[in-house]
């Protein structure tokens, strides 16, 4: 098969580009440690969240020095708890599930983004910095009221967080 010299060059450059793109993702995973939403959490019965240790009481709790866990339930058409209040300059692991249909959980304008699937639990870890208020949107169509489904993520100062008693509700 005859391949033009320029075409061979183009082919070589294309393969370099592809390998470089795969390389960036690999680097992101093993270098800075960007973790994907995966199968790290066990499944949950979406009809019996009330009886589940993780989701019977959607909340934010402290699990270590500057480390927090948040348990969030998405439903038609909102998020619980709302607002989700977390302290500044901390590490927060969010666990998100759905009580009914598939929803999205997106902290608008950030890469904190996950699907909320009934029966499964998405786990994402974020680092907060200065106190700010973020909007949370459902970014997967979930029914006729989809557009009213929103939440808040409030990053507050350490002292303000402690004055709240550490819990968001």
């Amino acid at each position: 098969m005859h391949i033009h010299a320029y075409e061979k060059l183009w082919l070589a450059l294309s393969i370099v580009l592809i390998l470089a793109l795969i390389g960036t993702v690999t680097y992101g995973a093993v270098g800075p440690g960007v973790a994907m939403v995966a199968d790290s959490q066990s499944t949950v019965d979406p009809g019996a969240l009330d009886e589940d240790d993780r989701f019977s009481e959607p909340r934010v709790e402290q699990v270590g020095e500057n480390e927090y866990e948040a348990y969030v339930v998405a439903y038609q058409f909102g998020f619980e708890p709302t607002p989700i209040v977390v302290p500044a300059n901390s590490t927060v692991t969010l666990h998100v599930t759905s009580r009914d249909v598939i929803h999205g959980f997106e902290v608008a304008g950030t890469s904190a983004n996950a699907m909320a699937v009934p029966g499964e639990v998405s786990e994402i870890t974020v680092e907060t910095d200065e106190p700010t208020e973020y909007g949370i949107v459902c970014n997967e169509y979930c029914g006729a009221g989809h557009h009213v489904m929103e939440g808040k993520l409030n990053v507050v100062s350490q002292s303000e967080f402690e004055n709240r008693g550490g819990d968001s509700e």
Binding site: E7, P46, E106, N113, M115, P118, A144, H146, V148
Partner: protein, 596 residues
């Protein structure tokens, strides 16, 4: 070369029965384009809050209709028309049995009509039917059974179409045992091979789970499983839309440019790569899904990146073929040859602009495929921004431009106005440049896709690349230009149909510079490619699907049923919603308590 050009027969002269099928398929395609465009403009103006003529709860009916009519009906009806033309033309023999051909056309038309009815009934409150599940129909949102049944009939129609083409090819093979498969036929057969593999999963999802569930035979389904089966089909289907455009770029565009295809062997390599790689990648739509291990996502990501290869090769070959034509017609210089091209022909300019936008779509696609930066844009308006460049322009604009060239071949009627055609394709390009660019930008602000009212009460979007409002205006203007462009295209075509038939319109396709004789025989060994493709699919999907079933069960972990065809309840809920949302939480799905 023929000495009697004037007496050269067109496609319709040689194959009048097949030409009738091609015209019927194109008419169905363009009818869907008209409906899709109407819903498109309603949706654009609603979303951007320029004009909200429907209640926001009906927005999702509009969105379902726009998606299904555009990407299932418009694209696939065009594909079956184009492939019927291409196979018959390149084999130079009629289809085996035209009754079978009309049968599959009839099935596809009937199936799409049923699905269309189930969607459009969502606008009429007195009919207890709707299918506001969008193009992806993720369970546990549930459509009326007619929606799933219609899709099944439509897909069965496409399967019979593929069988019709394969049987005709085998008949040709018996008559020509030693010849290479003609290039266009090769493209048809490889694309259909991919389609059989891909659509088997969505057929399984619909027939085993969704249809029985919507009929009440089973109580629940596993949402992750049906979603995974959808994306098993949902990514290769984008190449099913794209392959007709590739066929036109490879075999028709060089002719219009005044030249010939650069390389037949590499065109075959590209189509083989699509057979191999387009299916084992679907999990890249599920990077953010829980319940699927990171390793499976990584495999899918790697395959996806390698899928760039056939498109990068295509970019080279198509540009080289066009340059060949320009230089043959006196073009010189590094870029000076660009002026020796038929820019006044809408079929040429349309396809070139489509190719240019496809390059931009390719780059935003690389971002989507990047497993980590995908988190920034997943399910934001970036994603529709991306696919309006690919399916919405590379495919749709090439199909419209191709129509300007092919319609005279299948009807003996010259196009009514090339000027309107040229204006129309350029208008599409401008409209899409505005709309798609602003959609990408809004996506980066975090504006979600698929929502009737992207403005929220609790927060404002940050400002970059212009604010949210300003980008909305760009989207609305762009969408309006696209609607006008579609109307001009359809109007031009209707006026073309009123033209008298003439003779002498034939435009035979030239043979490639480097012909099939240069291509290794192994490329034509379809059995081999099917074998490798299936192996890759098993490697990419067997373990994830087993794991999903193992985690959630074949019929799901106790997930409920949420028919979207009980709209009034949701309306009541929405009206009551915002102030009461906090109070709903303990009610565990009892909507009645909410209203109290």
């Amino acid at each position: 070369m023929s000495t009697a050009i004037e007496s050269e027969p067109t496609f319709v002269d040689k194959f009048p029965d097949e030409a009738r099928v091609v015209r019927a398929a194109f008419m169905s395609s363009f009818f869907a384009l008209l409906l899709g465009a109407i819903f498109g403009i309603i949706q654009t103006l609603h979303r951007t809050d320029v004009a909200r003529i429907i209640p926001s709860t009906d927005y999702y009916t509009v969105l379902t209709a726009h998606g299904v009519f555009m990407v299932i009906s418009f694209t696939i009806f065009f594909l079956v028309g184009l492939f019927t033309w291409a196979l018959t033309r390149s084999l130079d023999r009629p289809l085996l049995n035209i009754k079978i051909t009309w049968t599959w056309y009839g099935l596809m038309a009937a199936g799409m009509t049923l699905t269309g009815i189930s969607i459009l009934a969502g606008f009429v409150d007195s009919i207890d039917m709707s299918a506001d599940v969008l193009y992806t129909f993720y369970a546990p949102l549930q459509a009326h059974p007619l929606f799933y049944a219609g899709l099944t009939v439509f897909i069965v129609g496409t399967w019979i179409a593929g069988a019709d083409w394969f049987r005709t090819f085998l008949a040709w093979r018996r008559e020509h045992p030693d010849e290479r498969i003609p290039l266009q036929t090769f493209m048809v057969l490889t694309t259909m091979t991919m389609w059989y593999i891909a659509s088997s999963a969505v057929a399984a999802s619909v027939l085993l789970f969704l249809l029985p569930w919507s009929l009440g035979f089973i109580d629940q389904v596993n949402p992750t499983l049906t979603r995974t089966l959808f994306w098993f089909f949902g990514h290769p289907v984008v190449y099913f839309w794209l392959m007709p455009a590739y066929m036109l770029w490879y075999t028709v565009l060089p002719k219009i440019a005044g030249g010939r295809l650069f390389s037949d062997p590499l065109a075959r390599v590209v189509f083989v790569l699509f057979v191999l790689l387009s299916t084992p990648v679907g999990i890249h739509h599920q990077y953010l899904d829980p319940g699927i291990a990171e390793g499976f996502k990584f495999i899918s990501m790697t395959n996806t990146m390698f899928l760039l290869l056939p498109s990068l090769l295509t970019a080279f070959t198509v540009v080289a073929s066009v340059e060949y034509g320009a230089r043959k017609n006196g073009g010189t210089g590094l870029l000076g040859w660009l002026t020796n091209l038929p820019w006044r022909k809408p079929e040429f300019t349309g396809m070139m602009l489509a190719g240019l936008m496809f390059a931009a779509g390719g780059f935003s696609g690389m971002v989507n495929a990047g497993m980590n930066i995908n988190y920034l844009i997943h399910n934001t308006l970036w994603v529709p921004g991306h696919f309006h460049l690919t399916v919405g322009t590379a495919v749709a604009l090439t199909m419209m431009a191709g129509t300007y060239w092919i319609w005279p071949q299948i009807s003996n009627k010259p196009i009514f106005s090339s000027q309107i055609g040229l204006f129309q394709v350029v208008l599409w390009f401008i409209g899409m440049a505005l709309m798609s660019n602003a959609m990408h930008a809004q996506g980066l602000l975090g504006v979600p896709r698929r929502t009737a009212e992207p403005e929220y009460s609790g927060f404002d979007y940050p400002t970059m690349f212009g604010g949210f409002e300003e980008l909305n205006i760009q989207i609305a203007i762009g969408g309006t230009l696209l609607f006008v462009s579609t109307v001009l295209f359809l109007g031009n075509l209707v006026l073309t149909m009123g033209n008298p038939t003439v003779s002498g319109l034939a435009e035979p396709l030239p043979s490639p510079v480097s012909g099939a004789e240069d291509a290794p025989q192994v490329l034509d060994n379809l059995r081999l490619w099917v074998g490798i493709a299936l192996t890759l699919v098993v490697l990419a999907y067997a373990l994830p699907i087993a794991a999903i079933i193992n985690r959630g069960g074949l019929l799901g972990p106790g997930v409920g049923t949420y028919p979207v065809w009980a709209a009034p309840l949701f309306d009541a809920l929405t009206n009551a919603a915002t102030p009461l949302l906090g109070a709903i939480t303990d009610a565990s799905g009892a909507l009645v308590e909410v209203i109290r």
